[in-house]
């Protein structure tokens, strides 16, 4: 009996250790966001001695945090919806049709290759493109960019989901008189709904968190997204730890809450389909 008991104890110890390593850094930031700067620098403890909400109030009254949040939501939601529409249509064509010269396969592979190249590679030309289109510092500029990034991902994910649906169902629908497109809309699309959800969820997280292109393409609170605004703010207030902590908490809160709510669907997207 004794060795078994020892094993459980080791297990529990490792478990607590992991929880601590993951949560303590985050907790430290959250705690700091409720402290005053004087307390943070002079007598940093695990919990605030004097609770204050000033840091948050300041962010919303002086800084343009509400703007950042709206900009982020608009850019994320619009670009993910557009990419889902264009992406699932394309993915369906790749999964179900045979085109001349195996065109559908070539397109699928090209999109995957584009997906592998990190976006940073086209930072300058995209910036120049938006400059010439006069779309710098606008919602539209961000939306166009993010839609394109999301499309490669949506096609890649949705294609595998469509392939999992048996063709027989659509054939049966067509025998019953559906057109090719109606069969897609009435049969394949509803069956791929869980896939659509998984794809959307992951795209939302990546897009909401995107920083590099927001940094290059936006310059004022008119279009700055949450990560962009947060980074600018902490660039200006180098040692204002209290504001920095509050900005960090606010910057991460929406997406962490969202991710925890939908975590069931998250894993496949995170691993680019390597894990189902």
């Amino acid at each position: 009996m004794t060795p078994n008991w020892k094993l459980s104890l080791t297990r529990a110890a490792i478990f607590v250790l992991i929880l601590g390593v993951v949560l303590l850094p985050i907790y430290w930031m959250v705690a700091a966001s409720f402290k005053s700067n004087a307390e943070i620098t002079q007598d940093a403890t695990l919990y605030p001695h004097v609770w204050t909400f000033d840091n948050y109030i300041r962010l919303f009254s002086e800084k343009e945090f509400a703007n950042y949040l709206v900009n982020s939501l608009v850019a994320t939601v619009v670009s993910v919806v557009l990419a889902l529409i264009a992406g699932s249509l394309g993915a369906y064509a790749i999964a179900r049709f045979h085109l001349k010269y195996r065109l559908e396969r070539k397109i699928g592979l090209s999109l995957l290759t584009l997906r592998i190249v990190p976006p940073v590679v086209i930072l300058i030309p995209v910036y120049l493109l938006m400059l010439s289109l006069k779309l710098l510092d606008t919602w539209l500029g961000l939306i166009i960019t993010y839609t394109a990034f999301n499309i490669t991902f949506c096609v890649w994910m949705m294609e595998s989901f469509f392939r999992e649906i048996p063709v027989d169902l659509e054939e049966a629908a067509m025998v019953d008189g559906d057109s090719r497109f109606t069969a897609f809309r009435r049969i394949a699309l509803p069956l791929a709904a869980p896939g659509l959800a998984a794809t959307a969820i992951f795209a939302v997280i990546v897009t909401f968190n995107e920083f590099l292109f927001a940094l290059a393409l936006t310059a004022t609170p008119r279009a700055m997204t949450m990560p962009r605004g947060t980074a600018t703010l902490i660039g200006r207030i180098d040692t204002d730890w209290a504001s920095m902590s509050a900005a960090g908490v606010l910057g991460a809160l929406p997406i962490v809450v969202f991710a925890l709510l939908v975590q069931r669907h998250l894993v496949r997207g995170l691993t680019m389909g390597a894990v189902k």
């Binding site: 303590l24 300058i124 394109a148 499309i151 090719r180 940094l215 902490i234 960090g248 997406i255 894990v275």
Partner: protein
């Protein structure tokens, strides 16, 4: 043989599905929006970046076509070579640590135990939290006056802890950040890989009296290799493009200690306005990653047909 027959049937089936008339144009119509947007926003910029990398820019305006001069200059530029070396070290240490820790964690969680669901939930947080905020979290750990490390050190009677002012410590600090953020991803992939392994070899090994270490080396590791390879490749490619965390944590400093290639490229382009030179740098990053990906795909294909 059966494979060929099966593929023949699906192809005939697909053709039958394609129908006639308007339906013949359908796949092209379905593909058009995605392909057009990608061509305009991803492919054209790639081409444009390639073109810009062959030009000499001043004050953001292209002046001359200079051929490969930017690339030649790049590969003799100590700043670039240093950045490349920093990036390679960063990627190597981060991915190696993440793989080892992720695998250990996955093996630990393989047997169901009370609390595993809590653990999986908690481990999602580092991956989904905004990278900019991850950097803030770590600044609040490393700060010499207000940091968590200093607080712990002082509580135990020590003095202030300096991390971000020292080149080696700052670099290590960045690796620690990346390991904190991405070990959970390795864990998730490897856990799924472990769970999908067949059970028979393990039972046989147990019957033969093999210990846990032998079983791991002889059975687990070889069978897990394809999944392990995919996880390492995905993570390596991703780590090569790391930008946000460094930008907020250290801006590449102190000195050049944490200046990864994307940071250098960003500064070249937007701080020093050397557009052509920066474009050459980004094209070079892209080529390095593509070469690595092609090499990895080759290795995976050789490893086995079912990967």
């Amino acid at each position: 043989m059966t494979d060929v027959v099966k593929r023949g049937t699906t192809m005939r089936r697909r053709e039958r599905l394609q129908g006639a008339g308007m339906d013949l144009a359908l796949p092209y119509l379905l593909l058009a929006p995605a392909v057009l947007i990608v061509l305009a926003v991803l492919v054209y910029p790639l081409w444009d970046g390639l073109r810009a990398s062959l030009m000499f820019y001043r004050y953001g305006k292209p002046l001359d076509f200079v051929g490969l001069d930017n690339y030649i200059q790049l590969w003799t530029d100590p700043q670039f070579l240093n950045s490349l070396w920093v990036t390679v070290r960063f990627v190597f240490f981060s991915v190696a640590l993440e793989t080892i820790l992720g695998l250990a964690l996955a093996l630990f969680c393989l047997r169901e135990f009370y609390g595993i669901r809590i653990l999986r939930t908690i481990l999602i947080i580092p991956m989904v939290i905004t990278p900019v905020v991850v950097a803030i979290v770590f600044r609040l750990i490393y700060a010499s006056d207000a940091g968590m490390l200093t607080a712990f050190s002082e509580a135990m009677g020590g003095g202030q802890v300096q991390i971000l002012g020292d080149p080696l410590k700052a670099f290590t600090g960045l690796v620690v950040l990346d390991v904190w953020e991405w070990t959970p991803l390795m864990f998730l992939i490897l856990l799924a890989g472990l769970q999908s392994l067949p059970q028979e070899p393990f039972e046989a090994a147990r019957v033969d009296g093999a210990g846990p270490w032998r079983t791991f080396v002889d059975h687990t590791l070889p069978m897990l290799r394809p999944v392990l390879a995919i996880a390492i490749v995905l993570r390596t490619i991703d780590a090569f493009g790391t930008f946000d965390q460094v930008f907020v944590l250290t801006r590449g400093g102190p000195g050049e200690a944490t200046r990864l290639l994307p940071i250098l490229g960003y500064e070249m382009a937007f701080k020093f306005q050397q557009t052509g030179y920066a474009a050459a740098l980004f094209v070079t990053i892209g080529l390095i990653i593509l070469a690595f990906a092609l090499f990895a795909v080759r290795m995976l294909k050789r490893a086995g047909p079912d990967t």
